[in-house]
Symmetry: C2
Subunit: 233 residues, 2 copies
């Protein structure tokens, strides 16, 4: 078996695993979008669909992790190739967490179905979710194409999501203070907003992974962190 | 080089990596404990220490991940040995996340330093944190000793943490409704409680990893999930 032959067998294996990552990413994108839409339109059935769909995402993660282990055992990759294969585990882990957050949003949507709309929160949450979804698509494209520039752009855009989250955090506090009957609904919306903001962080992790793969260096500490709500007094 | 020699070199490498996991676990335990104590005693300096300490935890994770990649590249482990090495990445990932949650609690503690105590929330949070800390110690012991029974016990105990979280969630809602001036402080306490509950989930993930390593099977779906707050109306 020539060196060339081994190399291309590895490439084929890696491509197969990455195809599953893309499939998983597609499912997660749909979950984000449907979770936000079901909240905005109070669509309980769609929320239920998101909750059910998370099982498929989890199953894909398990499969990807097993495939990855098989590729390592079979091809014994080293250096850059090994780094590439191990990155699959990180990315699938991030995708699984994002799927979990979408599921949690859908759960709370089911709880909120009878609650009145609180200001424009659902629309803001929809906008945040749409941004995160687009960022995720670009992060995965950057991953497949090893495009550090696109990955850097994704990291920058996470700041907008954080800023929207800050605004919503303050708005929801106001609605709570104005009418105690809003408190429980607002609490759920707070957690939904936080979940969406956390999704953005996981997308950022994927983008950072791309930069590490391409440049061999971890992005510097200066990752923009515009979520300042933990300092709100 | 004999087969035996290779095997024991692998074991030595693995032990070295696991020693770093234990060190990382120790730092995370301290972070959990100090985050909760700084909140209860309004100790801003201790909170600052937790925030600073997270850098060391993150650096350890990076080091462990690099060591793991080196062991794989050097020893080309397969089957059970490979599963063992890959589990290190999962466990270090979980520890890093728990450390992050402790850091976030410490951030919010800094914000809450001037706020009045809300009911017995700080004491409840302290109790939750203590439970999570003990669970973490046991989960890591179970990991090193491949003790599936102890791991199963850890998973069971996470239910108590979830139950405490449920109670606190409702209590905080009441305090918010009683006096709107409590709202912002209660919001931070809500997130602190949720962070602690999530820490318990990550400890549970470590325990599940142990069961997978020992039995070769993923724990069944029936993991107790007593956090029902997303259904609170």
């Amino acid at each position: 078996m020539s060196e060339q032959h081994i190399a291309s067998a590895f490439d084929r294996d890696l491509e197969a695993v990455q195809a599953h990552i893309m499939k998983m990413g597609g499912l997660v994108e749909v979950a984000i979008s449907n979770a936000a839409r079901s909240l905005e339109t109070r669509d309980e059935e769609l929320a239920q669909q998101v909750r059910q769909g998370d099982k498929e995402i989890d199953a894909l993660e398990d499969m990807i992790n097993e495939e990855t282990a098989r590729v390592i055992a079979l091809r014994a990759p080293t250096a850059g190739d090994l780094r590439l294969v191990l990155s699959v585990l990180k990315v699938s882990g991030n995708l699984e967490r994002i799927g979990d957050y979408a599921k949690n949003i859908a759960k709370r949507t089911t709880t909120l179905v009878e609650a009145p709309h609180i200001g424009s929160s659902a629309a803001t949450l929809r906008r945040m979710a749409r941004d995160v979804e687009t960022m995720l698509r670009d992060a995965l494209d950057a991953y497949i194409q090893r495009d550090a520039e696109l990955a850097q752009d994704v990291i920058r855009r996470d700041e907008d999501v954080d800023l929207m989250y800050n605004g919503l955090f303050r708005e929801l506090l106001t609605f709570m203070a104005e009418d105690p009957r809003n408190i429980t609904a607002c609490m759920h919306l707070h957690f939904i907003a936080k979940n969406t903001e956390r999704m953005g962080d996981h997308v950022t992790s994927i983008a950072e992974q791309v930069i590490y793969l391409v440049t061999g260096e971890r992005p510097t500490e200066s990752r923009p962190k515009a979520d300042t709500t933990s300092q709100t007094v």
